[in-house]
């Protein structure tokens, strides 16, 4: 339907415009998330090629990507100045939490890698 396609085009355009207006630090975090998710997809594709043995190594690889992506998104939420709920949270504290959680995540991953 022509209205649907023009709607879709309008959607993408307004999304692109609004996204361009986000601050740079948030865009860096978004780029990191995209990179990590791409890494996870590559690992899944590789697993599809060669099979899933040893399963624990595959899981630790994929879950480290998902984990750090999720933590980065949480950091983005807490650092975003437009978020009223996290107004009193200093960005240093948010970053410290992010680093601590990533540390725990990667220690567990290293134990699980086998």
């Amino acid at each position: 339907m022509p209205r649907a396609t023009s709607d879709a085009k309008l959607l993408i355009q307004s999304l692109g415009k609004a996204y361009a207006a986000t601050p740079t630090n948030l865009k860096i975090i978004d780029l990191y998330v995209v990179f990590v998710v791409a890494t996870a997809l590559i690992q899944v594709a590789y697993m599809g090629l060669v099979g899933s043995f040893p399963f624990n190594s595959f899981l630790s690889g994929v879950l480290s990507c998902i984990g750090t992506a999720v933590l980065a998104v949480c950091l983005r939420i807490q650092v975003n100045k437009d978020n009223k709920e996290f107004k009193d949270l200093p960005p240093e504290r948010a970053f410290a939490d992010f680093v601590l959680c990533n540390l725990v995540l990667h220690l567990v991953i290293m134990n699980f890698l086998g």
């Binding site: 649907a4 709607d7 309008l10 959607l11 307004s14 999304l15 609004a18 996204y19 399963f55 624990n56 899981l59 630790s60 879950l63 998902i66 984990g67 999720v70 933590l71 998104v73 949480c74 950091l75 939420i77 807490q78 437009d82 978020n83 709920e85 996290f86 949270l89 948010a94 939490d97 992010f98 601590l100 959680c101 725990v104 995540l105 567990v108 991953i109 134990n111 699980f112």
Partner: protein
């Protein structure tokens, strides 16, 4: 404002006058300290009455593994293959247990030794459960304060310190997983609710660690990994999605799942088992919610967003349904296992898995058990629900869901009253605290208002105030009466809990006590007598065949190899033993030869009136054996559907191995004055077959009260 009475104190003491806030802090801390000590002390009845020993059956396995851990270190423990149980199969202990309890006790033991307090590991094991019960009261206080206020927290701590539903599995000596697991459960829930309330990553990380401790401690962690996603789903459906929820759940789920997979027994279940799929589903749902929320914020245009919403929702729902369908159909996502499936369908176990159905703790709960284990909390619980609904917040929604789901499961299986106990205590604490607070406020305002109205002079106002004054004293008295009633109820609760603990939940089950003819206490220590006889009088590589109940105790105290034990992981092996017990002596001898059995152990209560003996359990042996070997048929042992052991019993019953071993030489014994010899005091009848001759076994040992009987299997004759 300081009370005037303290002004009359001498000058040095006047500096100790506390402000109201400090007074309140002192009251709270001292109340918590007393509750802590109370929770520990009320669980010590059996240690004071008998001795410091491990109770029941399962704790003996935990004790043996803890002993192994302290002697050989963690690496040996984690990779331990035990060849002393389930002969000839052996058991991979390191990969089939939940290590949390053992590691906790071993760490406490090491800490005490580092402080130069050289306690034996058995004492540490006996007192681990009361120690963690005391810690649970502190967590309950913090949780109550998080949900409602500090008053409710204090009441919750006091209630949970003595609630019989929790005491039943955490007395001193009950060294079982639940003693530590309930602490871990409540801690995980508290940390998660705190993370949702604050939206902080640090609290979510803490709750992931709490979840890890819970997974390492008990198989009931499945409750957490299903309740929390259900809670998130309810929040999403009621329109309470917030970014704090996103942060809390995501961090807890990913880190918690990773940590949980480090336990070998759990393995990859978090990504493969159907019981854990709800958590993953909610994880993806939350991502969708966040994404839509973000796009809505970016677009700022309602119409465009609506079309975007439609596209996304259709895509997500199709992909999700496809993934779930393919996963379940191809068998990659395993269906719910029998133990948890029987929670959703209580009749499932009785028809399909007799081993699960035979455990007395897995039976549905009667109302009397609820009253016995909860007392006044039963009617404070609905009142608390009312208060929670009046002040709905993320935290109160959680406790309401925890309470309702756990009460449902408590109704399905008696053992799960334990899981419901903390929720019931918290919700009842809200009701009690809010009611008492309202009543005391009512009393205080009434005592102040007569002074304010005394100064008024205007006629109509005075008349109106006078009319109000007349109804106030009535309410004042009613409030005092209600307050006294509330305190009376709470004191009855305390009395009931102490009585229940003392009478019902403090028996070690391995040592039996009864009242003699002259009223004095008689102790039956037959079990330990038999196990120590085994330890001292049989060759070290002897193999003992008994019913699976006694397996853990035989390996722990008798230090001998057993054929089957309480782990019940191999149904066919147990069915083989059941078949041997239910067959005639010659058939049973062949089975015993194939299993290399040297000694057979049976438990018999006919002389003392001890009713949990093997003759009462015998039908379960028949059912389990018959489930695998159709040659054993239950109707062969019954007469007109009735289970009898007297002269009218079925011939197969009168000649099977279990009957012979239990009643060997019993026909010559007079057990009760005025009754014929061979009178079974449990079944209340004279036995049918008194003239028993054993061909392939010989009696090795019978304990002083005939409770445990051990027989030696004779080697085959030299000439065939």
């Amino acid at each position: 404002m300081a009370p005037p009475a303290l002004d009359s104190l001498p000058a040095p003491l006047r500096s100790l006058r506390l402000k109201t806030k400090q007074q309140e802090l002192l009251l709270r801390v001292s109340a918590l300290a007393l509750i802590y000590v109370l929770a520990f002390a009320v669980r010590l009845f059996s240690v004071l009455r008998y001795e410091s020993m491990i109770h029941e059956f399962d704790p003996y396995f935990n004790y043996r593994t803890t002993l192994f851990l302290t002697e050989n270190g963690f690496s040996e423990f984690w990779n331990w293959f035990d060849s002393e149980s389930w002969y000839p199969l052996g058991r991979v202990v390191g990969g089939t247990l939940f290590p949390g309890l053992m590691v906790t006790a071993a760490l406490l033991h090491r800490l005490l030794h580092a402080l130069s307090l050289a306690v034996h590991i058995r004492e540490v094991c006996v007192l681990t459960a009361p120690f963690f019960a005391a810690n649970t009261t502190l967590v309950a206080y913090a949780f109550g304060r998080e949900i409602w206020d500090s008053g409710a927290g204090l009441v919750a701590a006091a209630l949970i310190a003595i609630v019989p539903g929790y005491i039943s599995r955490s007395v001193a000596g009950s060294y079982d997983n639940e003693g530590v697991a309930i602490f871990a459960l409540l801690l995980t829930f508290y940390l998660f609710v705190r993370a949702v309330n604050t939206g902080s990553l640090a609290w979510a990380l803490a709750s992931a660690f709490g979840y890890f401790y819970m997974v390492s401690a008990w198989g009931g962690y499945v409750f957490i990994i299903n309740l929390i996603p259900l809670y998130v789903l309810v929040l999403l459906v009621t329109g309470r999605y917030s970014q704090r929820l996103y942060v809390a759940y995501n961090c807890m789920y990913v880190l918690g799942m990773l940590l949980a997979m480090q336990i070998r027994f759990v393995g990859f279940q978090h990504v493969q088992s159907g019981e854990h799929m709800a958590a993953m589903g909610v994880f993806f749902l939350l991502q969708v919610f966040f994404f839509l929320d973000w796009v809505q914020y970016l677009l700022n245009d309602a119409r465009l967003f609506k079309s975007f919403l439609r596209i996304t929702l259709t895509c997500v729902i199709t992909v999700g349904a496809l993934a779930l369908g393919i996963g379940t159909a191809s068998g990659y996502i395993s269906p719910w296992t029998g133990r948890f499936y029987s929670l959703l369908d209580p009749t499932y176990a009785k028809d399909h898995i007799p081993i699960i159905a035979s455990v007395s703790e897995h039976q549905p709960t009667a109302w009397s058990s609820f009253m016995f284990d909860f007392h006044i909390l039963l009617f404070l619980f609905p009142a608390g629900l009312y208060f929670c609904f009046k002040r709905l917040s993320d935290a109160t929604i959680f406790i309401v869901m925890y309470g309702l789901t756990s009460m449902y499961f408590a109704g399905v299986m008696v053992r799960l009253i334990l899981v419901a106990a903390p929720a019931v205590c918290l919700i009842s604490a809200i009701a009690a605290s809010a009611t008492i607070k309202n009543l005391t406020t009512l009393i205080r305002t009434k005592s102040r208002s007569p002074q304010t109205t005394s100064g008024k002079t205007t006629g109509s106002k005075a008349a109106a105030k006078g009319a109000v004054d007349q109804s106030l004293p009535f309410q004042h008295n009613a409030a005092i009466a209600l307050l006294l009633g509330a305190f009376y109820l709470l004191s009855r609760y305390a009395i009931h809990c102490t009585w229940v603990t003392s009478e019902a939940y403090s028996s070690p089950s391995i040592v039996l006590a009864a009242r003699g003819h002259n009223g004095g206490r008689v102790i039956f220590d037959d079990y330990r007598e038999a196990y120590y006889w085994l330890r001292q009088n049989t060759p070290p590589d002897a193999k003992i065949m008994s019913w699976w109940d006694y397996g853990y105790q035989i390996t722990a105290m008798g230090n001998r190899t057993v054929i089957v034990d309480n782990n019940t992981w191999n149904n066919t092996h147990i069915a083989t033993v059941g078949r041997a017990m239910s067959s005639y002596e010659d058939e049973a001898y062949e089975i015993m030869q194939s299993l290399d059995v040297n000694y057979v152990l049976v438990v018999f209560g006919g002389v003392t009136g001890y009713s949990s003996d093997d003759i009462n359990k015998f039908l379960w042996m028949v059912r389990i054996g018959g489930g695998v070997f159709p040659v054993i048929k239950e109707p062969d042992y019954l007469v007109n559907g009735e289970y009898r052991i007297d002269k009218g019993a079925a011939p197969k019953m009168l000649n099977c191995l279990m009957y012979k071993l239990c009643y060997y030489r019993f026909g010559e014994l007079t057990t009760e004055y005025g009754k014929p010899p061979g009178y079974d005091r449990v079944r209340g009848v004279e036995i049918g077959n008194k003239d028993i001759k054993l061909e392939y076994l010989e009696e090795a040992f019978t304990t002083s009260n005939w409770i445990v009987r051990i027989y030696k299997v004779k080697p085959p004759k030299n000439r065939s």
